[in-house]
Symmetry: C2
Subunit: 428 residues, 2 copies
């Protein structure tokens, strides 16, 4: 790992820079696919699935029979693990439910705020070598708890035109209402526009490659909401001599194995700790099946040695890490003063993996510094807040004059008049 010792603040931005990618070149393809799906519906979906995935689907919708068969093909051990994760995620997200906020702001002026479910949501689960069923847990569980009526899931079919059994098992376990074997730009276009088979949804969630990322951004132009903008996954660890170097190394590697461009940063006030972690990295790397990927990621990863905790904190807040491990003696200092982070893992016995799978927190988190302004996925991501107000006669009499004055000052006479008419009637 590349090591920096007390870098000057003017150098931080460069040291903390993420690999930025411009996807503008993909936009014309996305535009074309959306256009075709809008005009041709399922016919276009089939043509693109043939073209991009090399399979010729007879039916996008996964049948009840397929789901039932899948359940029998997942090992009991894995089922039990998934249920443990489901229980924890359910508890933690259910605890996030907020009550109706009711307030009489002035005598006779009753206001309240209520959250109601987004009626139709779409979940995208990428394909690839391994089935990302953990992301289904993270998206479908809060969607179901929120009360979304339609929870659809799209995932690209494998070479045989199928979805992995564990994907189907997890989806039905978590309350997904319809599963579709379709991926890529065409899946996002289908959920955005609606076709004969795929229902149009109001919000789309889930990770994906660059095509899916651009397609989701395109969908926002058409009035569809998305969970958050995407970027490569990342981990920042702050550790001192109380941290177990082998554990720290294992956490850095669990991030590094995601891809050669994975983002890993280790900050410490202890040079000795950095030395020990470096040695442990070498030991552990040798045993990893994804060693080559992890080695590339580690090669351009960064260790930063700083003089004191305040400097470490400033660097952390400038970075705004997606995953953030705090393994130091004075952990409260970091926990209380970190302004920007997605999910925080505290102490020697809290590896990032527990939050990736099963602790109960969500693993769909803001990358790329977006922790400065975006929340990770949570129960509220599947709801929207609505406000209500009801005034009594007394209420309009109490507030009326203020509204008249302000409306007049903004040059909106009809706004004023709506109040004046009511006040006059009450005088009469």
């Amino acid at each position: 790992m590349k090591r920096y010792v007390n870098p000057k603040p003017s150098e931080w931005a460069k040291i903390l820079s993420r690999p930025t990618q411009s996807f503008e070149a993909i936009e014309p393809v996305v535009r074309e696919v959306f256009g075709k799906v809008e005009s041709e519906g399922d016919t276009a979906l089939k043509a693109y699935t043939q073209k991009f995935d090399g399979v010729n689907p007879t039916d996008f919708r996964v049948s009840e029979k397929e789901i039932a068969e899948a359940t029998g093909r997942v090992s009991e051990g894995l089922k039990s693990a998934i249920k443990t994760a489901r229980d924890n995620i359910t508890k933690f997200h259910e605890a996030q439910r907020t009550n109706k906020v009711i307030l009489e702001t002035m005598p006779g002026v009753q206001c309240w705020q209520e959250k109601r479910p987004i009626q139709k949501v779409g979940l995208y689960i990428p394909g690839g070598s391994a089935p990302l069923f953990s992301t289904i847990l993270m998206l479908a569980i809060p969607a179901k708890l929120a009360g979304c009526k339609e929870i659809i899931l799209c995932s690209p079919p494998d070479e045989e035109g199928k979805l992995n059994p564990v994907i189907l098992y997890t989806a039905q376990l978590c309350g997904v209402t319809k599963i579709f074997k379709i991926g890529g730009i065409q899946a996002i276009a289908g959920m955005t526009l609606g076709t004969e088979t795929i229902p149009k949804v109001f919000k789309i969630f889930g990770p994906g490659n660059q095509y899916v990322t651009v397609a989701k951004q395109w969908a926002t132009k058409m009035g569809i909401a998305i969970d958050m903008p995407a970027g490569p996954s990342e981990l920042l660890v702050v550790a001192d001599d109380t941290a177990n170097p082998a554990f720290v190394a294992s956490d850095l590697l669990s991030q590094a194995e995601h891809g050669a461009d994975s983002q890993v940063v280790l900050i410490s006030t202890s040079g000795a700790l950095l030395d020990k972690v470096e040695k442990e990295l070498e030991n552990q790397l040798a045993a990893l099946p994804r060693q080559e990927i992890a080695r590339q990621a580690i090669a351009h990863s960064r260790m930063i040695l700083v003089d004191n905790d305040n400097t470490a904190l400033e660097i952390i807040n400038e970075y705004g890490p997606e995953h953030y491990i705090v393994c130091v003696e004075n952990e409260d200092f970091y926990i209380q003063n970190t302004a920007n982070a997605g999910s925080v893992f505290i102490g020697n016995y809290t590896p990032e993996s527990v939050g990736d799978y099963a602790s109960g927190t969500n693993h769909t988190l803001p990358t790329n510094g977006y922790a400065k302004q975006y929340s990770g996925v949570n129960l509220d991501s599947f709801m929207k807040s609505m406000t209500f107000q009801k005034l009594s006669k007394k209420g309009i009499q109490n507030i009326g004059k203020s509204v008249e004055l302000m409306a007049a000052a903004e040059g909106l006479q009809a706004h004023k008049n709506a109040v004046t008419l009511r006040l006059n009637e009450l005088k009469g």
Copy 2:
């Protein structure tokens, strides 16, 4: 107003259609301005302010002296009204504050969720004939309550290079930290990229014309969050024979005076009510200063007569109104079953104007049907949720096996290893 009687569901989409506008033609200008502001900073801001607003600013930043002078130029009556509104808005948004969510999901697995302020936010307030100080109340008050450290405001200067005194008065009253005399695309570019004078912010709020709308969308491509996508303002009223026709007409007109393309819909199960409202509209229109605008909006507005409440409700949910007045005997039916609306105004004494200015609810609301998936601005709009977890030795022993199984099933050995190392140490 155009009247529809029991339209078929297949016709609803057309009847409820909003004026859609494509702003793609504006994108090249936006791209150019952002590019120049990125490379030239303040110099570009000055050049564009000269070009688009016709004024040559010596200093964008409003001085303390200007603010002090402005305070003296706002009438005591208006100040008092603004303070009443501020108090109500403060109370209602403060009541939205949520507690930390803390939960032990399994023995030894402690998880919590906390909301922390977005550190830097930018508020955009449009210029034009009237000073929209009410929008400052709606954005700066929750920003301040949330704990945002930097709350900047940009608004275009008038012909003399100044901002209206009531804008300055309201901004300082509500805790805006810096005020800048700059508008349009260049203001949004400045807040997105940062210049010598304008700080870069993490999230941009506020309404604007089509240039500002496209610039805000452009900003999201650069990692900046925005409050919500924009569309023309709209009002839907559902009313029956218990509604006062004069009041209903005044509410429709207060929406109609916004612009010739304003969206107004009135739904009723009573033909008699529709007749009376139509007559009242004619009476009240004659007295309005913005009569011509309102008349155009009313001419293409829609009255829909339906057989029963269920049909009315279905139409309302398909529309998803920004502002929604419920003035019927069985108001509970509508309040409880409306899935999609921004802000709801209930009964004969609750005109939309009270929520526009002073009841306490926010007036920055989802238009264009976005109530289906977006919240109106609220306290949480200025915060982001972060999650935390801390496992004890017992905790990792309880959850470890499940995480190992799931990580292995997703093909992520290093994720598994981070758990295994810890479990092995605890066995030893």
